[in-house]
Symmetry: C2
Subunit: 156 residues, 2 copies
DNA sequence: ATTGAAAGAGCTACCGC
DNA sequence: GCGGTAGCTCTTTCAAT
């Protein structure tokens, strides 16, 4: 799991492996070998290759934010207040742990963040920290319900 | 990994385990035991409990969408065209694999989707499918760059 | 709840193809 | 690149505390 390297396109077997690892990040090499119709050794070297090429960038546990006390989630769209200043908002926000994701976007705003907090009160404090840390204005969209997330589409 | 059950609050050791499993979804029980300062067996029963309580809802491989051919990502905000109709848009969109996440939100629109597609041409087709499947209008925000994502904040 | 130990399953490195 | 074996690690289960 070092850095992304060369990237010749994935073959069908690679896609099978990626799909299964997305569905179950703890799938054993034996399981993967069974669905791919290959030996454990062959699957192991393919998975290593997918990791070293940066196709698979890591493994993680999916958690329910509410179960760890984050009762409120929101999208926060941000726009720099002073367009003449160098815009390094993502770097200036990276230390804030409540921010799950940070995207730059083409639209009304410059960036969109996905944040998780304990309460409305906590969101108020977070927005203040975001504004002062990055010198931006914020526009928040409260998430009422997560129907599904973390699905992954592997084409072909 | 059956259904969420009772949920007495997490103690400090549980939070340590959850943090490590989020950072490395394939961490072994031995690794977890080392950082938690417990025996392997004790860690195993705690992890099983976190799973059965729905704190940890599963494990997944993180993948780079571009490396599997999804070169374009976007937020798609949708709003039902006919407010008098029953609104079951999320269910009517669930079969579309390009949709990674679906949230209902409090704001200008009813729902926000995160989608991944191969190209602008593919996005055009996807938007048509979304509109006809759910009888909604769409407002898309193209993602230019993902600075970070999939971070998880475990409070305390 | 936690521990320790024993048995089974999985991972890794190496070798021949 | 694929398959197979050997050695080691990890997981699982269980009795005991």
């Amino acid at each position: 799991m070092t850095g992304p390297e060369e990237c010749p396109p994935l073959d069908d077997i690679d896609r099978v492996l990626v799909r299964e690892l997305v569905a179950d990040g703890r799938a054993t090499l034996a399981q993967l070998a069974a669905t791919a119709g290959l030996s454990v050794s062959a699957v192991q070297s393919r998975v290593r290759r997918l990791e070293s090429r940066g196709v698979v960038t890591g493994y993680t546990a999916r958690i329910n934010p509410e179960s760890v006390g984050n009762m409120l989630s929101a999208f926060v769209a941000i726009t720099p207040l002073d367009p003449s200043q160098p815009d390094d908002a993502p770097a200036r926000l990276e230390h804030i742990p409540e921010i799950e994701s940070c995207y730059s976007v083409a639209g009304e705003d410059s960036y969109v963040l996905l944040v998780h907090v304990a309460s409305a009160r906590a969101l108020e404090g977070l927005l203040q920290r975001i504004r002062t840390a990055a010198d931006v204005k914020t526009r928040s969209t409260i998430i009422l319900h997560k129907f599904y997330s973390d699905r992954r589409y592997i084409p072909e």
